[in-house]
Amino acid sequence: MTKLAIDLVQNTLDGVMVGSSYALLALGFTLIFGTMRRLNLAYGPTIMAGAYLGTYAFLHLGFGAFPVAVLVLIGAALAGLYVERLCFRPFAQTAAMASMVSSFAVWMQIEEAASLALPRHLNAFPALVSGSLQLGPFFVRLDHLLMLAVAASATLLVHWALYRTRFGLGIRTVIDHRHAAALVGVPVTRILLLAFVLASTVGGLAGFLIAASEAQITPMFGMWATTKGLIAMMLGGLGSVPGALVGGLALGIIEAQAQWLLGPHLRDLVAWGLLFAVLALWPGGLMGAAGVDEAAAVQRRV
């Protein structure tokens, strides 16, 4: 195999693993968008809130990786609950922009709270496993492999929940046609809350996996998670669950190749440029053509 081919495949492998976390981030984001029909700008920060809770326990209470993971999920879910109550529940279907700006306000709250709780910029986070596996000419980090496995399992779990449980049916009806959902007896307000908490928990899991693979967490994590989740979601198609997967993996792979070829700065430029191109050319994303007009029509009522 030529060196170029080896590099490309290696990048793809790395990209798929990182992309699996992006997919989880996008999944949470898309669940919220699908049900709420608006963007939760506090999404990344709620994940960060969970991650910071975990870090605090790790640094000051000596918790191990698994208890930290549980705390991260709980923290993210609670933060999500707070955001849903304050920024989304009170707003009628037409005040979309108000709830988005409100979520931005909460973003600021959480970022500051995090900085107050752990004032240092860089904070250690428990790592999962170390070492790598060698498969022929390719190297695979063990913690990345674990990340992929956990992300894949979580995605399957969410899929099972959405398509095989009553709760999932409720969420899908609310996503499809909220008004009709109310008419058939779906408790819409409760479903919205639970979907939000589920989405935040999924995001929290992504956050844990990413922070653990970096073995550190900074206050920039909130914005970073929101951006990655957003780009991945839009690439795959707004409000599309399979799109979140496709978008996340695609973003991971493209970023890996771009970084190898062009370096970290240009890598980000490529990511944004790709998003812009996708929007300008195929607004529905790689998967979701149907979402375009409805979302646009709803958003127009700003």
Binding site: Q109, L275, F276, A295, A296, R300
Partner: protein, 313 residues
């Protein structure tokens, strides 16, 4: 007037330009998270104007505004098919790309022994036009507010004009507007250009106030803030965004209260305010209420004058 107050007021005035930039697009029915791109473009362009091409301030600011307008029109063209959230994300992507481009570009020339010009992530320093021409902070403050006042006056005038009506129509319901003869595409592009010019002008002013800008100044935070200011202060009038800026930078930044957890308080207040007033403090209803009261007062005053015994019939 002490220096600190001058500084804060100057900041408020300048940030108002970005806020107004986002506001113009809101009137056109579009939500933009990317107006900071034009702020950046204007800052760099105006800085290049005075620091590198040795122009005086006015033409440099004009350059900033024009480049901002051009860039905004280009973006507007590319995003014509988009609306709502898709448009918003596209503007965000654009702004981030602009910011990263500034992080990557370096262009410096030798001015009297020192290298002057943008230098990637290090930013663009030595924009010392104000110092070199002995313009005091207070004088600059007056210039900023003079420009702002002109801009606000222009908003008032345009609001009553045919274009203003067309803009609001296109914003409220583009399909209906098109049927009523409004060229929605044209209106949106003009609005985009105007917004770009406002952002660019503000950026130029900003660069000269700070004498040094770096790409980090023009991040997503600034963009979302600009949008938020309009929504907090109220969407009913151009003064709304300025009020929003005033509340954030004025009340909170400069107040000694809540040091350390200012953002938490501000964030909470904003969230609560929006629940009560989803369209801001000076929303359309409030503005309508105020204008009718004012009109009533004026009518009452003129009526009284009409009944004055000494007035000839």
């Amino acid at each position: 007037m002490d220096d600190y107050l001058v500084g804060v007021l100057s900041n408020i005035g300048i940030i108002s330009f970005v806020a107004l930039s986002a506001y113009v697009l809101l009137l056109a029915g579009e939500m933009s998270f990317g107006q900071q791109a034009f702020f950046a473009i204007g800052a760099y362009a105006a800085g290049i104007g005075t620091a590198m091409m040795r122009w005086s301030l006015a033409p440099a600011l004009l350059l900033g505004a024009m480049v901002g307008a051009l860039a905004a029109t280009a973006l507007g063209r590319a995003t014509l098919r988009l609306s709502g959230l898709y448009f918003a994300i596209a503007t965000l992507a654009f702004a981030e790309m602009v910011r990263i481009v500034f992080e990557l570009c370096t262009w410096q020339i030798d001015i009297g022994g020192t290298l002057v010009g943008p230098k990637g992530t290090d930013g663009f320093g030595d924009i010392r036009y104000l110092f070199e021409n002995e313009i005091t902070p207070a004088q600059y403050l007056c210039a900023i507010y003079l420009l702002l006042a002109l801009v606000l006056a222009a908003f008032m005038v345009v609001d009553r004009s045919r274009f203003g009506r067309a803009l609001r129509q296109a914003g409220a319901d583009p399909v209906l507007a098109e049927l009523q003869g409004v060229r929605v595409v044209r209106v949106r592009l003009v609005a985009a250009a105007a917004a770009g010019a406002l952002g660019g002008l503000g950026g130029g002013l900003y660069a000269h106030l700070l004498t040094y800008v770096e790409p980090r100044n023009f991040d997503i935070m600034l963009g979302v803030h600009s949008l938020a200011y309009g929504l907090i202060g109220g969407l009913g009038t151009a003064i709304g965004p300025v009020v929003g800026v005033l509340i954030d930078i004025g009340l909170l930044e400069s107040s000694r209260l809540f040091v350390g957890y200012r953002m938490m308080v501000f964030g909470g207040l904003v969230a609560l305010l929006l629940i009560v007033r989803p369209r801001g403090l000076l929303d359309e209803r409030a503005v309508h209420w105020i204008t009718t009261r004012v009109r009533d007062l004026i009518d009452a005053a003129t009526a009284r004058r009409r009944d004055h015994p000494l007035r000839r019939p």
